[in-house]
């Protein structure tokens, strides 16, 4: 049995198809998605235009004298003044600047508008300009409120100086702040991609061991094997082991590569190991059932591709179904891919390996439910 296992493993490691599906394809995708495209990122020193009203207004002064130096110092944006709205709009269209802030002339009732000239279809570029406009708007309105409130409460005192109030507001520590915690929502994007691609291709990789049974039966080497002092069960176990070891090897190489190359963070190594071992068992169980049902190697190969694609799509390798309500949330849980990612998510915040107990349990249950009937059927394939 050991000889069959060793011979098959070595043969599969020399097989380019196995290497493509087990290592090369998922690794290429992990590198593209996880490493080279780092996700939405707001650039530094964003070039923005500004058009000020004539004569100058307090809002314009606030923008140019208080806000602009801060933006430059923090390397958020660099403001360039344009004489007219038309020239600023042309600069936006020509992509000389990312957006422009037009400070309007106050109307008869003192109302004033800051208009953000936004380029078409670039929401990320526009976000910074809108944020600046909202900040200036909020501060200008707060100055008006302070001056008005002081007049209401102390009508006989000298009215406060708006510029002083504005400076006080600008230097005050904000009482409400918004922080970004994009990395704390579970797996990092790199880890999510690595896990998704590794599990998707795992279901193709494990076929290379057990499918060999059908090829060997066709070319007659299985009959010759069984003529030797070796039982059908030993042949079946050897092929199962080949599938399982190939799956574990593929997952290990991919996880280590993702960790080293794109700095994916998987959490507790013991938790990850348990997920890999149970995930590969679930994948091997599906290929066992396929080999038990299929009559020819072509049928089995095609059926395994279907199962791999089907479970990959349902399990969220490409996009999540969990958002789509109860039905989507229920069917995505049928795929082992979902539980593998779920396990990684549960240990992503530094939790102990015991946090993967639930997902590992589901993966093992899947292995038993699919694998036992698979084994019973696959034994027919190795009957002399």
């Amino acid at each position: 049995m050991f000889d069959i296992f060793v011979r098959d493993i070595l043969a599969r490691l020399r097989d380019r198809s196995a290497l493509i599906l087990g290592i090369a394809a998922p690794l290429v995708l992990i590198l593209i998605l996880g490493g080279l495209a780092p996700g939405p990122d707001i650039e530094k020193d964003q070039p923005l235009g500004v058009v000020l009203p004539a004569p100058p207004t307090a809002v314009g002064t606030l923008l140019t004298d208080q806000v602009a130096p801060l933006l430059k110092q923090e390397r958020i944006a660099v403001l360039t003044e344009y004489p007219t709205q038309e020239k600023a709009a042309r600069a936006v269209e020509d992509e000389d600047i990312d957006a422009a802030l037009i400070v309007g002339v106050p109307d008869a009732r003192g109302r004033q508008t800051i208009t953000v000239l936004a380029p078409n279809g670039h929401p990320i570029d526009t976000a910074v300009a809108i944020g600046i406009a909202d900040g200036v708007t909020a501060q200008a309105n707060a100055v008006t409120s302070v001056v008005g409130a002081i007049r209401l409460l102390t009508p006989d005192a000298a009215p406060p100086d708006a510029a002083t109030v504005s400076a006080q507001l600008a230097t005050a520590t904000p009482t409400v702040t918004v922080a970004n915690d994009s990395t704390s929502g579970g797996l990092t994007p790199e880890t999510r991609v690595a896990a998704g691609m590794a599990t998707f291709f795992l279901f193709f990789t494990v076929q290379f061991g057990l499918l060999g049974l059908l090829y060997e039966r066709r070319v007659g080497t299985l009959a010759r094997l069984l003529a030797a002092p070796i039982t059908p069960r030993q042949v079946l176990v050897a092929k199962l082991l080949v599938s399982y070891v190939l799956g574990v090897l593929s997952m290990t190489v991919l996880i280590v590569a993702a960790r080293l190359i794109i700095h994916a963070h998987f959490g507790s190594p013991l938790g990850v190991a348990l997920l890999v071992l149970s995930g590969v068992a679930a994948a091997t169980a599906t290929v066992t059932l396929v080999v038990g049902v299929a009559r020819t190697p072509e049928q089995a190969g095609m059926a395994q591709s279907m199962v791999a694609l089907l479970l990959g799509i349902l399990g969220g390798s490409f996009f999540s179904l969990a958002r789509s309500g109860d039905f989507g949330a229920a069917i995505t849980r049928l795929a082992p891919h979902y539980w593998f990612s779920e396990g990684l998510t549960r240990i992503s915040g530094g939790q102990s390996w015991t946090a993967v107990a639930g997902p590992v349990g589901v993966l093992l249950l899947f292995t038993v439910v699919i694998g036992v009937p698979g084994l019973i059927l696959a034994r027919r394939t190795v009957k002399p």
């Binding site: 929401p123 409120s145 409130a149 409400v176 969990a322």
Partner: protein, 387 residues
């Protein structure tokens, strides 16, 4: 011509008789339609989660500002671990949790935003930041008034609110530059996401046809056809059209299914149909090359999957091109058909452009498809003549 039609009919019959092909031609595209519909159709609101044990005026204002956009639905969650889990697993598009830091006059309310994977929550994060800024400035205004006038905080708050309601206001407006209106609502963004999956799966299902050409060769069907009075160009035309018809059927199932059953609004359906047809042409060309050069079914299927998914990833089908660095975007346009289709869909669905925005992509993809089919035909002709 009859010979070409006979080859097409024979190929389609052979495909129909093999049940596994029904999976790839009909079941898989239908499955894609259903999952696309579940993932991107239906409720278009941005789904957010909120953990707010603080519940002060500022946090209520932030939540009211987000609900007031009519673009988002915020659900109260019991704790941050549930919020992080649901965002990480894609149940929610994003969300925020509220904490306090400091004490007394130095007390700060911290709203921490947890971003999802889709980027759908970015506009809502901006709304939260604006509302937080207004709340912060209002609180500071009350402090200044209290300090300056000696009034108690309640009286100062009332005075600030009265002054705010009656005084001249500054407002922010947004105008899109250019003649077309940008569609940055969640319906259009979802259609773009569905479109990126459309390009991925049309190309992938087209490539999966490569093994069919290979088995034609291996079973000797092509050789037997050659023995009949049929010329090499007729065989090639028959094989190429067979692949293309199958690819078009797959594309039609995905496109029509997602439009009819899940109401995805493609804005310019004709442009999208032509883009799909051109994409299927490129996929058929590559499938023919793989089917001609491939040695075994396993090898061809492995390369088809690798090419189908790697090109899709590089071409912006798994992450929007907008998020790519400039160099990567250029590479994507040079080597993947997906970048052209995804960019054209972005211009139609988000930039609000019409049919004309898709014309360059349709032309480039059709030309690339024809060149690939010509290359495949030469390779196949060489193999057939060598028989």
């Amino acid at each position: 011509m009859n010979a070409v039609l006979a080859i097409i009919a024979a190929n389609l019959r052979r495909m129909r008789n093999d049940r596994s092909n029904i999976f790839f031609v009909v079941v898989l595209p239908l499955l894609i339609v259903v999952t696309l519909g579940l993932a991107f159709g239906g409720d278009t609101n941005v789904k957010l989660g909120v953990v707010d044990p603080v519940r002060n005026t500022a946090t209520r204002d932030v939540r009211a500002a987000i609900s007031g956009t009519d673009e988002a639905a915020a659900e109260t969650l019991p704790d941050t671990s549930r919020l992080r889990h649901d965002v990480a697993r894609g149940v929610l598009d994003g969300g925020w949790y509220v904490t306090r830091s400091g004490a007394g006059d130095d007390e700060t309310t911290v709203i921490t935003w947890v971003s999802g994977t889709t980027g759908n929550d970015i506009p809502m994060q901006n709304v939260a930041m604006s509302a937080a800024r207004v709340a912060s400035d209002r609180a500071e205004a009350v402090r200044i008034v209290t300090r300056t006038t000696g009034a108690d905080p309640a009286a100062a708050t009332r005075a600030v609110d009265r002054a705010s309601a009656s005084g001249p206001r500054v407002e922010r407006a947004t105008t899109t530059v250019g003649s077309d209106k940008a569609n940055e609502d969640s319906t259009s963004i979802r259609a773009v996401l569905a479109g990126s999956q459309l390009s991925l799966f049309i190309f992938l299902t087209s490539l999966m046809g490569a093994s069919s050409l290979l088995t034609s060769r291996q079973y000797g069907v092509t050789r037997r056809t050659r023995a009949a009075p049929v010329s090499v160009p007729q065989i090639i035309a028959g094989e190429a059209l067979s692949r293309y018809i199958v690819a078009i059927i797959q594309a039609a199932v995905i496109l029509l299914g997602s439009t009819l059953f899940f109401g995805i609004d493609w804005h310019s359906p004709l442009a999208v149909i032509l883009l799909c047809a051109a994409m299927a042409l490129v996929g058929s060309g590559i499938a023919m090359i793989l089917g001609t050069l491939g040695r075994s079914e396993q090898q061809v299927n492995a390369i088809s999957l690798l090419a189908g998914l790697a090109l899709a990833a590089l071409g912006g089908s798994m992450q929007p091109l907008e998020f790519f660095p400039d160099v990567m975007r250029t590479v994507a346009f040079c080597v993947t058909p997906h970048a052209w289709m995804n960019n054209a869909l972005w211009r139609i669905l988000i930039d609000g452009k019409g049919f004309s925005a898709a014309v360059p992509a349709i032309l480039v993809l059709s030309a690339a498809g024809l060149v690939l089919i010509a290359v495949a035909s030469r390779l196949l002709a060489r193999r057939l003549r060598a028989m």
